[in-house]
Symmetry: D4
Subunit: 256 residues, 8 copies
Amino acid sequence: MNPAEALALLDRFRRGATTQEEVLNAFQAAPVADLGFAVVDTHRGLRKGCPEVIFGAGKTPAQVAAIAAKIVEGDGRVLATRITADHVRAVKRRFKDVVHHEAARCLVVERRPAPRNPGYIAVVAAGTTDLPVADEAAVTAGFMGNEVRRIHDVGVAGLHRLLRRLPEIQGANVVVIVAGMEAALPSVIGGLVARPMIGVPTSVGYGSHFGGLTALLGMLNSCASGLTVVNIDNGFGGGYAAANINALAAEAARRK
Amino acid sequence: MNPAEALALLDRFRRGATTQEEVLNAFQAAPVADLGFAVVDTHRGLRKGCPEVIFGAGKTPAQVAAIAAKIVEGDGRVLATRITADHVRAVKRRFKDVVHHEAARCLVVERRPAPRNPGYIAVVAAGTTDLPVADEAAVTAGFMGNEVRRIHDVGVAGLHRLLRRLPEIQGANVVVIVAGMEAALPSVIGGLVARPMIGVPTSVGYGSHFGGLTALLGMLNSCASGLTVVNIDNGFGGGYAAANINALAAEAARRK
Amino acid sequence: MNPAEALALLDRFRRGATTQEEVLNAFQAAPVADLGFAVVDTHRGLRKGCPEVIFGAGKTPAQVAAIAAKIVEGDGRVLATRITADHVRAVKRRFKDVVHHEAARCLVVERRPAPRNPGYIAVVAAGTTDLPVADEAAVTAGFMGNEVRRIHDVGVAGLHRLLRRLPEIQGANVVVIVAGMEAALPSVIGGLVARPMIGVPTSVGYGSHFGGLTALLGMLNSCASGLTVVNIDNGFGGGYAAANINALAAEAARRK
Amino acid sequence: MNPAEALALLDRFRRGATTQEEVLNAFQAAPVADLGFAVVDTHRGLRKGCPEVIFGAGKTPAQVAAIAAKIVEGDGRVLATRITADHVRAVKRRFKDVVHHEAARCLVVERRPAPRNPGYIAVVAAGTTDLPVADEAAVTAGFMGNEVRRIHDVGVAGLHRLLRRLPEIQGANVVVIVAGMEAALPSVIGGLVARPMIGVPTSVGYGSHFGGLTALLGMLNSCASGLTVVNIDNGFGGGYAAANINALAAEAARRK
Amino acid sequence: MNPAEALALLDRFRRGATTQEEVLNAFQAAPVADLGFAVVDTHRGLRKGCPEVIFGAGKTPAQVAAIAAKIVEGDGRVLATRITADHVRAVKRRFKDVVHHEAARCLVVERRPAPRNPGYIAVVAAGTTDLPVADEAAVTAGFMGNEVRRIHDVGVAGLHRLLRRLPEIQGANVVVIVAGMEAALPSVIGGLVARPMIGVPTSVGYGSHFGGLTALLGMLNSCASGLTVVNIDNGFGGGYAAANINALAAEAARRK
Amino acid sequence: MNPAEALALLDRFRRGATTQEEVLNAFQAAPVADLGFAVVDTHRGLRKGCPEVIFGAGKTPAQVAAIAAKIVEGDGRVLATRITADHVRAVKRRFKDVVHHEAARCLVVERRPAPRNPGYIAVVAAGTTDLPVADEAAVTAGFMGNEVRRIHDVGVAGLHRLLRRLPEIQGANVVVIVAGMEAALPSVIGGLVARPMIGVPTSVGYGSHFGGLTALLGMLNSCASGLTVVNIDNGFGGGYAAANINALAAEAARRK
Amino acid sequence: MNPAEALALLDRFRRGATTQEEVLNAFQAAPVADLGFAVVDTHRGLRKGCPEVIFGAGKTPAQVAAIAAKIVEGDGRVLATRITADHVRAVKRRFKDVVHHEAARCLVVERRPAPRNPGYIAVVAAGTTDLPVADEAAVTAGFMGNEVRRIHDVGVAGLHRLLRRLPEIQGANVVVIVAGMEAALPSVIGGLVARPMIGVPTSVGYGSHFGGLTALLGMLNSCASGLTVVNIDNGFGGGYAAANINALAAEAARRK
Amino acid sequence: MNPAEALALLDRFRRGATTQEEVLNAFQAAPVADLGFAVVDTHRGLRKGCPEVIFGAGKTPAQVAAIAAKIVEGDGRVLATRITADHVRAVKRRFKDVVHHEAARCLVVERRPAPRNPGYIAVVAAGTTDLPVADEAAVTAGFMGNEVRRIHDVGVAGLHRLLRRLPEIQGANVVVIVAGMEAALPSVIGGLVARPMIGVPTSVGYGSHFGGLTALLGMLNSCASGLTVVNIDNGFGGGYAAANINALAAEAARRK
């Protein structure tokens, strides 16, 4: 309810066209509606880039399928992460055109494609074992309307391989860097790239790696300015944040 | 050395205008020069937004003053973080026009102003004790050519105060959220804002706060999509990353 | 042995009706009997609200069934937590009327209903994966004679949903708040509610969540006054403490 | 603005006794006012027991004095915790009647006394070094309108001393238990007392005590049902929560 | 080779009854033999109370059986801890008279009984889930020639049960206290018992129990003088140390 | 009141030499006295070896002096640990004959000497920086009536120095082993000594030593059977436990 | 492309035997090739001792077989670590002569034997459960051209066994010490051996061993100079570093 | 006493030139002497490169001076680490020619120079704040007879600076890499260098750096083969291990 609508309501009330109760109800609802405005605004903003995403872990196939159906109905497309083959089968029964990104443990239904943002997002992975997390980031950013370039197996131990791919990394609007073990890659890339970078530590490692804690701490303490970090193995979070940043750039370009 | 220069060199060599040794030297230097190209490119990119920043902690006043002089000479302006009154005095002896941001523990010399990026960055702080870190973020982002709006004392314990400032937060291009204790603020803002958000956990708290670890873990595990995190008390890192993102948006707008 | 009994014993001793040894034994036993008084008092107090509860984990089905039978015999009702289907089957062989709260992993036999306390306890859960722990809290508080209102899926990421349910939360005598991940919910509710609140952190999360440690630390460092905390996933403890508090209120009302 | 006031406003509006603008303004304030309602409700509830409390640590004497003056103006009394002698001096300049609880590191100005709740709160401390934290809890609960009984030096190592004070502990409406080292006291009391108990771990200890972490973990893992816990050294939080619980009991008695 | 033997050897050498080489060899062996003296002394001392014990975890049934056979051959009896049914079957093929302590996960062959130490060792367990660890302690101490009295289910939550068993605990020469969760039991017993006490923390608990770390820290920080601690779940270590202490007492009595 | 006194009282009562009231009063005190029995028994046992010990840290000089005076009055001697020069000065004002063990940070007044236990306790220290903790252990064990032999600077890095002192270590009734850094010493001694050993980890070290945690964990995981452990830097605890064990041996010899 | 080749190319270019394009292409590759120079140099150095090693964990049998084939093709031999029986079967299909080191979880194909380094590397293991890690170290060092002597079951608890093997350990060029539990072995050996030592902590232990963290910390804090450490269970890393050191010695001898 | 001396002694004994007691004494000393052999061997080995080193922290100036005097007397030179100006003054009173390495917190007296090893050791430091630790490593390695090249300020953030110094690093016999923050430098160098590398993590950093733990974990989990690690800030340990390795190479060359 915006001010104009509010004034109109008061007019109707003074004219006797509505009751005192109706006015009171409308205004009592208003706080939520108004806050809702903010929220709806947010939601609208998100909706342009990304409808609600289903976190599959801990949900039954039936639950995932039901939620997916509801979201597709509204938004025309849906992304579910951390899903299993069972989840995929359940969703497939409703949507023939579901795409299963097996390594990324994601599924996508996309009937109404997302608007595309200019430029591309680079998803860089240090080792082959980091690929599932990198894939999750890539699928997420792609789903949100971005071109994604995957640059794999460029760990710092083979610096020349990384340097060969450097121009492609430097050309990206946003760089997502996925690394386990000691996670030195973001520090090296961070010295060579001026664009926003998002580090995704992975739980790849053993011994004193402590399930990814070492990689996480390494990234948080990186000497590379412009690097921010998400939770361990949170490929979705990394891809989402990158898409979010690129959406800002796209919008800035549109506004211009 | 770019390809054109390389061909010219070979021409000169074939014509006898240069020696074999000179050619070999030039090409042997090339790897660094070429990599240097990348680096210089990076530097150039950075230079548009931010020349090298001095981390004052552990440096003597004389060292800070000397480095500051060298950077101002090249870039016309400099930012030093984590500085003390002694550092300021030392720099003041060379530059009358140094600005001391006392709460932020920063100093700035700015003879050649940075180009301004459109839009603004919101720096939101949960409590009054988080202000020094928030100020560091604000000074950094401002130094890098951004309008900064500071929104303070909007902890989740007084939700209505936060909601009053919500439109201002939602209007920002990037939101930096500084919070200690349990750091619930990013989660609440994250549900209401669609733009890139950067969380800066602070060491404000006691008991099981463990020097900011609790705030850090809280932010890393936040349910808010689009939130990324920097190290504890790293206001500089938060402000830098935000400026970096806004620079991308500004550039996207220019390219348009 | 009360003073009257003691004087009678001494009389019998002086009359030669009992031996020195008997007197000495009686007085040596007295300390335990006296302490026993205190304990019995305590037990009586507990018994009004809650007979002994069986912690099923690590006990065999036969053990649980035997203990349950013994408690029902004395108290007319029993609660067992952390039980499996096997436990339920074993208890069912003795009691046809056992109720199995599957999600809560609890079973209840209730032949003699608990006296009801006025008012209600709100059990608020941030996400759907927190439900088993919330259910355990709800079943426990219900078993102890309280009306329980369950308010689910009101995480801070969707603030408007939480605010819609706010009056119901504010109307409760005690609020149990169950949350995993960064556990920001208690901080938000804590700013809006004046009644006693008990936080139950859950192990829901991944990466740097460390099995619920992050949620626990978040709650312990919450800026919300009036919030106290129990162990990770300890739904029983949360429900019990809430029931304990409401029992005090009920008793205060009765005493009036 | 409560519903009755809202209806009255609409009445005045219909009668022409107020303008459309005035109504709109009133309702536009309403979102906040309405959310404020909740908050105000909270505040009102709190105000009966406790106006805003000043956390002195990290605030200047002038700041504390200014905030204290503002709160006393509105509520007639104020509590400040974690204060130093300097804070006290600054506040004394404005209020001659400030009471300095030195051990508790608290100051109180109390011109309009808080309404008293029936019953009493027991604050039990294991050792003499736990006293500052226990005192903070006691001062807080007392400030919020409760009789407080302090029971000190009853560590489990001298069980007979504890048992001598047991009736007094069992007679309390709420028990706050303050303990450092291994914090075994709540477990022992928890087996003997049926009322709500709040554990406050202290940082008293050394070696593998890790600044109170051991005491905190001990309390969180206590086998005593009905025990909840606050942060390390958080005497204020313990006293506040206890007062909150006793206020519920007092209100239940009033409602009866 | 003791000094007397050495002198005899030199005598034989001077008399020409042995060669220079033989003398040299004997003395060259001596360093080890002499150090061996110490070791042999140790072994002899141990042998009185306890031959080498087999730690079954990570050993194959065949390995355990072979080692057991070798030890029985020398010492007439053997103890193996952390064994499975498979280990027992393998040992049974060689020794019909193997005793399998199932709960304790131990097996014993005892053809030559250990000499008995006077007095008894009390093994006290807080809860029923602590029993396997307590049993391991009891079997170990029993195997080493001690009467063991098991006192179970005397957690501090039911203080009266503990106090009823107190005389039996106070009468022991050494007390082994096995407890999980917050491990408050040693602190309570420690205030009532003057004899050496050994705490064995167990991994029984959940949430912030961290696999027994909380119980371990609780015991290490206990206010009870005379309490020492072994590793988590190390029932063998607790029983062994208790037996070791009682052996000293037995020897002191013999020496008298 | 011990059993003999109780029987005497009853005799007097039967003879008419005392009134019923007096008997009742005596036994009414008994519950505490009787529980006290346990405690008094404990105290008596302790008193032979050790009256109450004052932990000086966190107590004022006046407090320490007052407590010391009270204990000396009853027991004829007192030990205070973790004391400063100020504490010593305060005690000296009352007792000219106070002995200040400066390195051990202990003071002792000993007017009525403790009965001496046969045998001796070895206090072994790995490095010179471990000496203050070793001294505290030695002073404590000495105060409790034991001969103490100090064996210093026998770290495993110079194995020959350790082996030279081995007979002296092997001859002790109990061995207290004080070690920081990686605390390998108990493992080496544990393989050579059959007697009870108590490890006292110290906070000596740096880097990943974590204030003694590494030494503590090293001792808890030692392969040496018969080793038990006390808290970091807890020399008092180590000396007390050793004295406790030797007192058992002394008593066993007496009982014989 | 080494300098000689570069000069030859330029010669051919001046003589007209090659085109400008070809020269440019060669040198354009050069940046990488030149950086590659470094890398190739490294690789060449490595190749003498060790071609690329396959880390089997997380790779499919097909992947391991394919990579192995490619490496054997180039280097004539290959080592794969952390492999399973499935990996071995897959590799066997291509190479009949694969050697499966089962305990070490390694496989080796060695058609072109590595040049042998003089001297030998001692791999010392504290306990039998440390053997898999020790074997991995031994296989790695052997594969890289070193004689390896395995010295097992020499834990510090049986010091005489260790001392008997001492000359063999002292005679090694490099000593790899593999130990779990409290990892005291490196400290003892470190006091007796002057050569480079590498500690490999293992995850062997339980309770407060924390998956090898205790052993790791013990080694890092060892008082033994000349000891360096690798990650928990990283037998490969330990063997590799030892081989690396011995290769330096071998090269120094060759250069002489 | 070597075999030849032993045979000579026996000869003298047979000839009556020495008594039985003397022979026995000599051989009784032998165990230690023989073990001493090993130790002396070790010492001799060490002495070539390094006499005993004084760890100054926690020692008084007088103690350091006395120990230094004793070592110089025997070895002609001494190194003391972690010393203060007071230590230096005290040593200077005895030795005019003491050299104070202020940044390294070391002092050296060198009257009899150490034999020089061929080749050089590179000490690489990531940042200027890592210099004190790097200096300690350099002084130690230099004292032990090695040429040391210091390569500073080559953090991975400025990769081109590192690559420019690469040939110098690759030319070293051993590389010591000193780094704080996320410690990515060893991983990058590790991919480019074939020689033994020793990582020294420093406590330089803040927030989640946890006093160097992050740098330590980063190095332990590094993907660089051939890298081993010492304790946080342990520059001495790093320099010593490097010198130890280079001594092996020098000896191998000599043996050749």
